[in-house]
Symmetry: C2
């Protein structure tokens, strides 16, 4: 049992921490960022990547801990950039994705997020929580909020990209918010 409700979030991305923290603080769950790029394996399944990262993290962190892995999956590109979204954003950027879709009819895409959690005792299991937001890739880059491919992702619910809405609104629709809320629901019952 985790009496003081404090959970570590190992990530090198302060934006991810902000998003998760805004949601978990409403549930009175204290989140502390450990600023460290987690080790990741190459795999097409982000749940496998997150689980493996968490196992490696367990050696270094004492106490309850989460890691998150996420990706943008574009249907007409066979799921690309998927688990390698961060690398693809760094090299090709949003423009690269728009170029790749110039001749494609479908712009269907989804953002996926996986949270992996462990209480971090030797006997404890790893729990996995998934969040998916369906949407489309926009025709051009719109907005400067969020991070990564947010300015080209139009969630189905609204006519704006993730780059055009603030954190509070993004947390109503985003894949990461869904995964974090799924985690919080489970955690508050099981902690």
């Amino acid at each position: 049992m985790n009496i003081n409700n404090k959970i570590y979030f190992v990530t090198g991305n302060p934006n991810k921490f902000k998003e998760a923290n805004q949601i978990l603080s409403k549930h009175h769950i204290q989140l502390e960022m450990i600023n460290s790029k987690k080790k990741e394996i190459q795999n097409n399944d982000i749940a496998v990547i997150a689980k493996t990262s968490l196992k490696e993290t367990q050696k270094r962190v004492s106490g309850p801990v989460i890691v998150e892995d996420s990706g943008l999956y574009i249907s007409s590109l066979h799921g690309f950039p998927g688990p390698y979204s961060a690398y693809v954003y760094e090299t090709l950027g949003c423009d690269g994705i728009l170029n790749l879709l110039r001749d494609q009819v479908s712009r269907d895409a989804e953002f996926r997020s996986v949270i992996a959690y462990t209480e971090n005792k030797k006997t404890s299991n790893i729990k996995i929580f998934l969040g998916i937001t369906k949407g489309k890739i926009s025709e051009k880059i719109c907005g400067t909020q969020g991070f990564g491919f947010d300015p080209i992702f139009l969630p189905l619910q609204i006519d704006k990209t993730f780059g055009e809405i603030d954190l509070t609104e993004k947390n109503k629709y985003s894949h990461r918010a869904i995964a974090i809320n799924n985690f919080a629901s489970w955690y508050l019952i099981n902690k």
Copy 2:
């Protein structure tokens, strides 16, 4: 010391085995394929990926062993697809790369290969051998030989893609052949 000169090559790609085997057999080094997709981490440096894969492989294979990692690095795309070339080939294919380069002036690129070798005794070190072939990305897909991005890679030495030449000719110029030859030169002195 490896008396019978037999080395295991752990790879899920028979093309890579064929290329390496053609070269090593000339040096009277016996290569045996262990058909297994090696575990890979996410890293921008293929030497780090190969080294980590070899360490994991050491647990499963008894005897001298090599693994290979390679990638296509395109200058104007900041090195993309680099270490994720296999994934990018599966999702975007050669057409995806040609699309990404439509508006780019430079088509400069290089293929890199890293061989990681260990004699596989607890005390043995891991040795790394690098091969680089400089070239350009062609304007269209040419040839059906080789594998992966071979049909769009023009090595500087000839006016044909790797897809238009046979294995023997590819082994005169290829990044993998250079890395394998570097390994063979070292191995024959140090085995």
